[in-house]
Each structure stands twice: as structure tokens, then as C-alpha cells.
């Protein structure tokens, strides 16, 4: 067993002075293995969501707090939590799951404003931010705040004074996912407001949080962190083997015609960084 691992990970005469895992055949087999495993995991997610499913720790209270924190950092009055907008956000999320779409407008042409109006919120200004596939509140807010597609403008617009959120678990395109809907609005023509505007009372928000969480059930394995962790582990193994290979060969002064390990390490570090940032999707 020990010999096998040495053969696999350490460059020596028996593996032609190149860790066996870095040989072309093994790299190719690793790629095939990853493709097959991803196919298997995808099937497992769809067939047994209670085993491998989505688990998100996103609360409405945190969404409101972090949104208002960003606004305050930019000198804009905080948003007040609004039950009607929360109702509109929930209806919008339900509609996306029911008619299986991921867009601001439904396939039948229903705009976000239809949901806001039907909840009884007679807005002068309104806006909507959508996100899916995130596992923490911080990641959602960060994605919206770093977006150049209007999400940041919505978050920081002084045209809005109220906000409502919905965090719902359901299936889109046959895949289980968590949808986060943010509906923003203003009942009046905006005027300069001071920063002490009243925000949601704790009881209101907590009731809404309870409602949102009641729709989540905990899977045995969280697919969001599971695939990230597996990928991180595989990349780290390869970086470690490449580094070890580079050091040992340099020490032994063995002449080989192979690619530069340092190039591969740098490239894999980029992939590792991307695994860390490619989380959810926003529109």
C-alpha cells in the first residue's frame, strides 16, 4: 500500500521520475473520473434531495441588517421591512417554482410589479433583485453589491424606503435550489430622509424568518458545500504533488522533458480561487 502511494505521488525510477498521478494517462483518467462523478452527484441530487440537497443559512433578518448596513456605509437611509413587499417576494418565488423560470418577467409576461401590486403595495417606485444557489446571507449581499447589472444601484437607491424578502426552497429545471427574492419600493415620491428611519420591528422580521425557514428541510449532505470541498481537496492534492515533484527532481538533478510544474501550480491556484468565488447566480 505504502509503495503504491509512493509510486503515485513521488517521482522515482519506477515511475520514470514523474509522480504517476501526473502522467498523461492518469490525468486523462482523473478528468473522466471527475466527469462521471459529477454526473452521478447530479443524479443523486435530483433523485434523493433528502440525502444530497440544498441547505442554505439565509435569514430575512440578516438580509435586512446587511442591506441596511451597506446603505448606511454609503450614507443612505435604511430600508423599512414591509409585510406587503415580503408577501410579493414570496408570491414571486412561488411563481418561479410553479412555472419553472428564472427571470424578472415570467414566460407569460408577468412583471415583478404585478406581484407587488397584488400584495396591496401601491408603489411610486419599485425594484427587484433575484439570487439563487447561495448558502449564506453574506454571499448574497456581496454578489448584489459587486454586481454591475443594476443590483448595487437597487440596494443603494434612495428612491426606495421599504423592502421585503423571500427565501424559498424548491425545484427549478428539475434541480433543487434556494431562491432569494428582494422587492424594493416606495409609496411616496422620495424626499430626503434622515438615517433614523424606522426599520422592521424584531417581531415582524422574526415571524417572517420563521415562515421562510419552515419551508427548508435539512438534507443529510449539503450539496453546495459538498462539491466545493471535493474540488478544493482534489486541487490541493494536485498542487501538493506538483510541488513535491518539482522539489525532488530539482534535488536529484534529473533531466526530464515535461511541462513546468510552477506553471501548473499557478494555474491550479487560479482554479482554486474560482472555486471559492463561483457560488450562486443573480439576475
Amino acid at each position: 500500500m505504502k509503495d503504491f502511494f509512493l509510486y503515485l505521488f513521488i517521482p522515482k525510477e519506477s515511475n520514470n521520475h514523474r509522480a504517476k498521478i501526473l502522467h498523461h494517462t492518469n490525468l486523462f483518467l482523473t478528468i473522466i473520473f471527475l466527469l462521471l462523478t459529477s454526473f452521478f452527484i447530479q443524479k443523486l441530487r435530483v433523485t434523493f434531495p433528502s440525502v444530497l440537497g440544498v441547505k442554505a443559512e439565509i435569514s430575512l433578518q440578516e438580509l435586512l441588517t446587511l442591506t441596511n448596513k451597506e446603505r448606511q456605509n454609503n450614507g443612505i437611509a435604511p430600508l423599512a421591512f414591509n409585510d406587503k413587499l415580503t408577501d410579493a417576494a414570496a408570491k414571486k418565488a412561488d411563481d418561479m417554482f410553479e412555472y419553472d423560470y428564472w427571470a424578472h418577467n415570467s414566460p407569460s409576461g408577468k412583471t415583478p410589479w404585478v406581484f407587488i401590486k397584488s400584495s396591496g403595495y401601491k408603489y411610486v417606485y419599485a425594484g427587484e433583485n433575484l439570487a439563487r444557489g447561495f448558502s449564506t446571507t453574506e454571499d448574497v449581499i456581496k454578489a448584489w453589491m459587486t454586481s454591475s447589472a443594476g443590483h448595487r444601484e437597487n440596494m443603494l437607491s434612495s428612491n426606495y424606503q421599504d423592502v421585503g424578502f423571500a427565501v424559498k426552497l424548491g425545484k427549478l429545471n428539475g434541480e433543487e435550489t434556494v431562491l432569494i427574492v428582494e422587492e424594493l419600493g416606495n409609496l411616496n415620491i422620495p424626499i430626503a430622509r434622515n438615517k433614523t428611519a424606522e426599520i422592521a420591528t424584531a417581531s415582524q422580521t422574526q415571524a417572517a424568518v420563521k415562515n421562510a425557514h419552515s419551508q427548508n428541510r435539512e438534507p443529510f449532505i449539503n450539496s453546495l458545500s459538498f462539491s466545493s470541498n471535493i474540488n478544493m481537496m482534489i486541487i490541493l492534492i494536485f498542487i501538493f504533488v506538483l510541488l513535491l515533484d518539482m522539489i525532488i527532481i530539482e534535488k536529484k538533478k534529473v533531466m526530464r522533458f515535461v511541462g513546468h510544474n510552477a506553471d501548473h501550480i499557478l494555474y491550479l491556484m487560479l482554479i482554486m480561487a474560482l472555486v471559492g468565488i463561483l457560488k450562486g447566480v443573480i439576475i
Binding site: I31, T37, S223, I230, D263, L268, L278
Partner: protein, 89 residues
Amino acid sequence: MFARLSKHSAYYASLIVILTLGFLLAYNSSNRSFQIGAVIVTTFFYVLWGIMHHLINHDLNVKIVIEYILIGLFGLTIIFFLLSTNGNY
């Protein structure tokens, strides 16, 4: 090892620039298709740069080309694995 790395410092600096640009493009976009495009383009340039470097050093052969392509494919497979298994593509 460090002597060789410093000898090729200009090459590594340019590679770091390519990879950093690729990362920044993906990081600063909220569009998933654009992010995937940035990863593919960066991988393409990484393979191209690796080949060019060996070509300049007069030690390029088919096995080296295949190695860069396989490492590039490995990186892309990792990203595909991540996005397809968490449903966030």
C-alpha cells in the same frame, strides 16, 4: 530551482498577469455565462503561454503540449464539476 524561477521571472510575471486578469474578469461579473467564458479564455491563454515558453526555450515536444492541454482540461473539468453539482450554472 529558485535560480531557474528567477531566470524565467519575466515569463512567470506575464503568466501571473494573465491568470490575475482571468480571475478579476470572473470575480467582477455577475453573469454566469461571462464568468465561464472568462475561465475558458484564461485556460486557453495558459495553454498557449506554456507552449510558447517551451518553444522559446527550444524544448517543446508533443508530450509537453498534451500535458498543458490536459492540465487545462483538468481545471475546466473542476469548474464544470462545481457548477453542475451545485446547480448554479
